[in-house]
């Protein structure tokens, strides 16, 4: 049960940890959008992705995110990578026609090198996304994220969306994850001692084993929720009433620096993208290195 390590919060005290969660969420979205701009010139897109990778690695170093976790989570993605390869490489795409051919099966069907580039690029983007979300989740407490969500959802109150209730539900769900994981482990051990085998057996047997885990888990979760609602009510909770807030999110000088930096990157990429869409060939590689990349 303890192998759920991807992006788990690590309690360090770095620059990123001290940022306002609202700000971090906003920066995350900005950078994700920035990653997904694609340019007409191949080398430019690739160069920018590389630059992003370096930037994110720096961010991870600053935030003391463990690289080992990234590799671990990538290991579990091999299926997705193979799936992408098959889709990109073997499904014929008119856009590649005329580009260098890797293998010609017959006159109608060929595999193009460009499809490999495209697939590699997609995988690179996924890795970039991984790194970004890792930085967010391992430097921000889940609870702080819910406060940030609540803050962003505040305008929805105008259309009578239950913002506070949603945030409260979310925070309670987060609060009970470790408790329920412990419970799962306990039930598993109890069932194993009664002869249930969770590890082996065919699909049917495994399904049966899982049922013997799920049902007690649900029963206990429902009992818990009932007791919890009693406890909340006993302490005067009323979802409709106004409440004061203990947690206050503050936007400090660090946040100003971070948002300016992210904004500058986003602005730069957006500027290049607009130039690209209005017909200018963005030969970024050539501009910087003064050589032709050759593809």
């Amino acid at each position: 049960m303890n192998n759920v390590t991807f992006g788990r919060y690590t309690p360090y005290n770095t620059f990123t940890h001290k940022l306002d969660p609202r700000n971090k969420l906003f920066i995350l979205i900005l950078l994700i959008v920035a990653i997904f701009f694609q340019f007409h010139v191949w080398s430019t897109t690739l160069l920018l992705s590389g630059a992003f990778l370096i930037l994110f690695i720096l961010m991870m170093l600053i935030s003391r995110v463990s690289f080992l976790n990234i590799f671990k989570s990538l290991k579990s993605m091999w299926f997705l990578i193979i799936f992408l390869l098959v889709i990109y490489v073997f499904i014929p795409n008119k856009a590649y026609e005329g580009t260098p051919i890797c293998y010609q099966f017959n006159e109608h069907y060929a595999i193009y090198w460009a499809s490999f580039y495209q697939c590699g690029y997609i995988i690179l983007r996924i890795i970039l996304l991984f790194c970004l979300t890792m930085v967010l989740t391992s430097t921000t407490k889940p609870m702080d994220l819910t406060y940030a969500f609540e803050w962003y959802m505040t305008p929805l109150k105008l259309i009578r969306f239950p913002v506070h209730e949603t945030a409260m539900t979310l925070s309670i769900a987060l609060r009970f994850i470790p408790t329920l994981l412990d419970e799962t482990e306990r039930i598993m051990k109890a069932q194993e001692s009664r002869g249930v085998d969770f590890g082996r057996g065919g699909l049917g047997k495994k399904f049966k084993a899982i049922i013997s885990l799920i049902i007690p888990l649900f029963v206990s979760a429902i009992q818990r929720s009932e007791e919890l609602s009693d406890a909340m009510e006993a302490r005067g909770y009323d979802p409709r009433a106004k409440r004061t807030k203990y947690r206050k999110l503050t936007f400090g000088w660090r946040d100003a620096i971070a948002i300016l930096f992210a904004g500058a990157i986003f602005g730069g990429v957006l500027y290049l993208f607009i130039l690209d869409r209005t017909g200018t060939q963005i030969e970024l590689f050539q501009w910087i290195f003064k050589v032709n990349p050759g593809f």
């Binding site: 309670i172 609060r175 470790p178 007791e227 406890a231 006993a234 302490r235 005067g236 004061t244 203990y246």
Partner: protein, 274 residues
């Protein structure tokens, strides 16, 4: 003055089922420490939920501060009561110790600037001041229960109800909470404590004991009186508190220990220091 008064309370969870609480009446005076003791299924936890208005009785009346508890004033009267439940995990609402204590304060609309002082103050009182930023998964059961007590006390209740607050704790946790309750009592003599328990040792500390059996009041009185009768205790499948047991057995051996109140005094009689 009566802080809590129950008049002929009956309750069943559904109409067809037998009543879990049958014609229960008792009074709790202001500033007293009353224990309700009984075996599993004696209806004692139901009683706590009735008093705080989470359940409504089928029959009978509940008075808090001489005011009849109704669906209209339940929220108002509830503010006078702090309730600590049995399961330490299922009443920990906040993400951390400080957030959990703050939960009740937020509900009461205490301004944010006052919260920090209140939280620090009550965390200190229950000895959790060094754990303010800790998550519940990193606390022991006893620590979580102390946080729950701090959360209940931070709302300045006039009545504190402990619904088997120690039953899921290890012996160390149990004795810690017992000590904490006795200390609270000393610091705040006006606080009325109603402790629902099946731990006879805990009940022995209180001013008055009410014994429930199958939903009915079987006994009421001072702990010394209630716990001195071995036969009756056995018929209710309750044990004798250790000190009463010891006194009883020593008295059978013709030791003169009737006036002894605690272990030290008994030791003094058995092995006089002079």
């Amino acid at each position: 003055m009566n802080k809590i008064e129950l008049k002929n309370i009956s309750f069943s969870y559904s109409k067809d089922e037998t009543e879990v609480v049958k014609h229960v009446s008792f009074k709790v005076h202001e500033g007293s420490y009353v224990s309700i003791i009984g075996h599993n299924g004696s209806g004692k936890s139901t009683l706590a939920r009735l008093i705080i208005g989470l359940l409504a009785p089928n029959d009978g009346e509940i008075y808090i501060d001489d005011e009849l508890l109704t669906s209209k004033n339940v929220r108002k009267l509830r503010q006078k009561i702090g309730l600590v439940f049995q399961n330490p995990d299922n009443q920990f609402i906040g993400a951390t110790v400080e957030d959990d204590i703050a939960f009740g304060l937020e509900n009461r609309r205490i301004p944010r600037k006052d919260m920090q002082d209140i939280i620090n103050n009550y965390a200190k009182r229950v000895g959790m001041e060094d754990f303010l930023t800790k998550e519940p998964s990193r606390l022991s059961g006893g620590q979580k229960q102390r946080v729950a007590i701090a959360g209940a006390l931070s709302l300045n209740p006039e009545i504190l109800i402990l619904d088997e607050a120690t039953s899921m704790l290890d012996p160390k946790g149990k004795s810690d909470i017992r000590e904490l309750i006795n200390e609270m009592k000393k610091n705040n003599p006006n606080l009325t404590i109603l402790s629902i328990t099946h731990d006879v040792e805990e009940a022995y500390d209180s001013d008055e004991v009410i014994v429930l059996n199958k939903g009915e009041v079987a006994f009421k009185g001072k702990p010394q009186d209630v716990f001195s009768n071995r036969k009756i205790l056995e018929s209710l499948s309750l044990e004798m508190p250790f000190i009463m047991d010891l006194k009883d057995k020593l008295a059978n051996q013709d030791f003169k220990i009737d006036k002894c109140q605690n272990i030290d005094e008994i030791a003094e009689v058995l092995w006089p220091s002079k």
